[in-house]
Symmetry: C2
Subunit: 248 residues, 2 copies
């Protein structure tokens, strides 16, 4: 799966790093160089990948699994800032190397790891990669704005409707209903992400169920019966297109 140092000599035909949009147009020489910098990494479910405030030694491209990002505030509250999946970038370029938030593997996670310094140098050598990463960062800023608007302006049911739609869209395309989505995180994580409490999340989801908008197949598998109703509740016309997410 990986084509880094630790796997030198293995078949690289299925290495994913070249398929990441960020690197997809690199010529063979540059791609080979990038691969020479990369190493495979594995984190079992529950393992902390980077910890808030610690120096980040590596940048990761997630290739499999799900990562939860959260930040602890000075007064001891936890805010889940986002979730990363395959294709997303964890640990970007920053002024200081201290991680802004903690990243924790929610499932078993595989990733491509690159030394920070090497990645920084690679960016300086490859202006197009740097430029594309800048575009990705701008996308991330827009996504953060959208989330702020969600928190500032939507009620609990709107936030959850938007969340379900994003979960449905994030790692697959949204075909016609019914769409079955898997929600791997516990209710408390959803609540933390949306600025609600677990009880409210539970109540709103039950309300959606009673209104026939969604249907449960166990607490973590949800069938979206009416996409239109969810759009309406979320007050959305269109969802952001799929993109590479960046965790700091």
């Amino acid at each position: 799966m990986f084509c880094g140092k630790e796997n030198t000599g293995t078949v690289c035909g299925q290495c994913v790093i070249g398929e990441i949009a960020l690197f997809s147009y690199l010529d063979n020489g540059s791609l080979r160089k990038l691969r020479s910098l990369a190493a495979g990494a594995y984190f079992p479910s529950g393992r902390t990948i980077v910890e808030q405030g610690q120096e980040q030694e590596h940048v990761f491209v997630i290739t499999r699994g799900l990562v939860k990002l959260y930040r602890l505030t000075a007064d001891g509250q936890r805010q889940i800032t986002g979730f990363l999946g395959a294709g997303d970038l964890l640990g970007s370029i920053k002024r200081n190397a201290q991680a802004y938030c903690t990243a924790e593997a929610m499932t078993d996670v595989e990733a491509c790891s690159i030394q920070r310094a090497n990645f920084t140098n690679f960016l300086q050598d490859q202006p197009r990669v740097c430029f594309n990463l800048l575009v990705a960062a701008t996308d991330e800023i827009e996504a953060r704005y959208d989330h702020s608007i969600l928190l500032a302006r939507k009620h609990a049911n709107g936030r959850l409707a938007a969340f379900l739609l994003l979960m449905a869209l994030r790692w697959r395309s949204l075909e016609d209903a019914p769409v079955v989505i898997h929600v791997p995180m516990p209710r408390s994580d959803i609540a933390d992400h949306l600025g609600l409490t677990t009880e409210t999340v539970s109540r709103v989801l039950s309300q959606f169920k009673n209104r026939g908008i969604i249907e449960f197949q166990g607490p973590k598998t949800i069938v979206l019966r009416s996409i239109a109703a969810l759009y309406d509740l979320a007050g959305l016309e269109e969802l952001p297109r799929p993109r590479m997410a960046m965790g700091l």
Copy 2:
């Protein structure tokens, strides 16, 4: 003040574009090239600089005045996403040129304007500028995260305490109390920015006044009597260092 095409021949000793952190280390040749791309721009108070959804022709470096950024949601609500001042960048590099939000001059505004295409080309030619802009974008992402946490986790008084501290710190250093800050935007803008209503903003500020934390000199000039109390209310230990803000 400006050194762009429209001002060719004027004294350039006081041109600010070279003083922006983003460009500060450019050699003379590159800086001259950048200046040749820049033109002065002026927007009277109340003028819309860029409008949400419209193609952005230019990128601006604000050199004087205050700009308010807001986005209208599909269901007709308004969210003020931020405020820009001198040294900040308006209209970054994006996948599509459509503006994410509207930018409106709150005061008379002077800016350095650069054609988007020219700026993009300049970035490709100047990897270090591109890299530094990427770092600035990452700072912006962190600032957006902080604002999300504010909206998700803080009550009205915490949000306003944090807002007052940010206003105090943003364009000047925060010396020992009492600090006199100028809050040029109306209460409705503050409310929109913090996900509150004007009434709540007013009530909380009155509460601060009654508790002796702040003092009014007219509704737009506020004396911060107790910085410590504000930090405590905001649940903060430290504020983000001053940075170049980016509006999309």
